[in-house]
C-alpha cells in the first residue's frame, strides 16, 4: 500500500487520505474579473504529466489539510508541506528527481 507522509502524523496508509484537487489556486474577486477569467478559476486546471502541487486531507487521521507535490505518472510523493507555505519550485524538484534517477541508473 502506498504510504503518504502527513506533516503532522507521519507516514500513513493512502486510504486514510483524500485528494482535494490542485493547490495554490486563489479565488479572484468577482468584481472586475472577466467571465473568462472566472470560468478559468472554476474549471481550468493544469493537469500536467509530471509534478503537480495538490491539496490533500488526512481525513481519517488528524483531519487536517496539507499540500503535497506528487508525480502524476509514478504517483511518487516528492514533498509535503503545510497549508500557507509557498509553492515549491516544481522545475527544481523535477530536476532533482531526474538527477536521482540518473544516479540510480548509473549505479546499477
Amino acid at each position: 500500500m502506498l504510504l503518504i507522509t502527513c506533516p503532522i502524523c507521519g507516514p500513513r496508509p493512502e486510504i486514510e487520505f483524500r485528494n482535494m484537487g490542485e493547490a495554490h489556486i486563489a479565488r479572484p474577486t468577482p468584481e472586475g474579473t472577466s467571465d473568462d477569467d472566472m470560468a478559468a478559476f472554476l474549471y481550468l486546471r493544469s493537469n500536467p504529466k509530471g509534478l503537480i502541487a495538490e491539496r490533500w486531507r488526512h481525513v481519517h487521521g488528524c483531519a487536517r489539510f496539507f499540500n503535497a507535490v506528487r508525480h502524476t505518472v509514478t504517483d511518487k510523493f516528492v514533498t509535503v508541506y503545510e497549508v500557507g507555505a509557498p509553492k515549491p519550485d516544481l522545475a527544481a524538484l523535477a530536476a532533482d528527481l531526474a538527477a536521482d534517477l540518473a544516479a540510480r541508473e548509473a549505479g546499477r
Binding site: R12, G61, C62, R64
Partner: protein, 186 residues
C-alpha cells in the same frame, strides 16, 4: 403516562464475539464522551479541570483517575469519562475556557470495545493498515484510522490491549469484522 425509555447498548443482541485464549473483544459499556475543539491554550485550561492531560504531542493519550483525553488532531481531543459524567464535564469546560471553543457530547454517537489478547494486533491488522509494532505504535498512542470501511479511534492501552471507538451505527460491522478476523486464531 410517561412512556418508558430503555437504553439499549449498541452491541446488545449481536452475535457474541468468539473469545479465545488469544483474543477477546469486550464492549466498554456506556461512557461519557466529549469531543473538544479549541486552541492548545484552551486545551491546557481543560486539562486543569478535566483531570487527564490533553496532549499537545500528536497521537498521544493522557490518562488519570478513570478519565482519558485522546489527541485526534492539532485542535481536537476526545475526552472519555465514566457514564453520567458528561454534563459535569461540559459544565467544567464551559467554566474554565474563556476563548472560543467547541465541546460536544458524543457519548451516544460513539460506542467502544476493548480488544485484548496475544493476537489482538493480528486481528486488528486484518482491517487496519497501520503499523502496530510497539516501536511504531507504542502504549499510550491513539489515532483516528480505519478498520475495514469504518472509521475508528484506536488507542493502545497496553501491549496487547486496544480500546476501539466507533460510531454506534457501525457497531454490528465492527464486531462482525473483528469476529471474522479472529476466526483464524480460534
Amino acid at each position: 403516562m410517561t412512556p418508558e425509555i430503555k437504553r439499549v447498548g449498541a452491541f446488545e443482541g449481536l452475535p457474541a464475539f468468539p473469545a479465545t485464549s488469544r483474543v477477546k473483544a469486550v464492549p466498554t459499556g456506556p461512557l461519557a464522551r466529549i469531543l473538544f475543539r479549541g486552541s492548545p491554550a484552551a486545551a491546557a485550561s481543560v486539562s486543569a479541570v478535566f483531570g487527564a492531560p490533553l496532549s499537545t504531542v500528536p497521537m498521544r493519550a493522557g490518562e488519570a483517575g478513570g478519565r482519558a483525553a485522546l489527541w485526534l488532531g492539532p485542535d481536537e481531543w476526545l475526552l472519555i469519562g465514566r457514564d453520567g459524567e458528561g454534563e459535569a464535564i461540559l459544565a467544567a469546560i464551559a467554566g474554565a475556557v474563556a476563548e472560543p471553543h467547541s465541546a460536544v457530547d458524543v457519548g451516544h454517537r460513539n460506542t467502544g470495545l476493548v480488544l485484548s489478547g496475544a493476537r489482538a494486533v493480528d486481528v486488528l491488522n486484518a482491517g487496519c493498515p497501520l503499523d502496530l509494532h510497539p516501536s511504531a505504535f507504542p502504549i499510550g498512542m491513539c489515532t483516528r484510522t480505519l478498520l475495514g470501511k469504518a472509521e475508528i479511534v484506536l488507542w493502545r492501552q497496553a501491549a496487547d490491549r486496544f480500546h476501539i471507538e466507533g460510531w454506534r451505527s457501525f457497531a454490528p460491522y465492527l464486531l462482525g469484522f473483528l469476529a471474522e478476523a479472529a476466526r483464524e486464531y480460534a
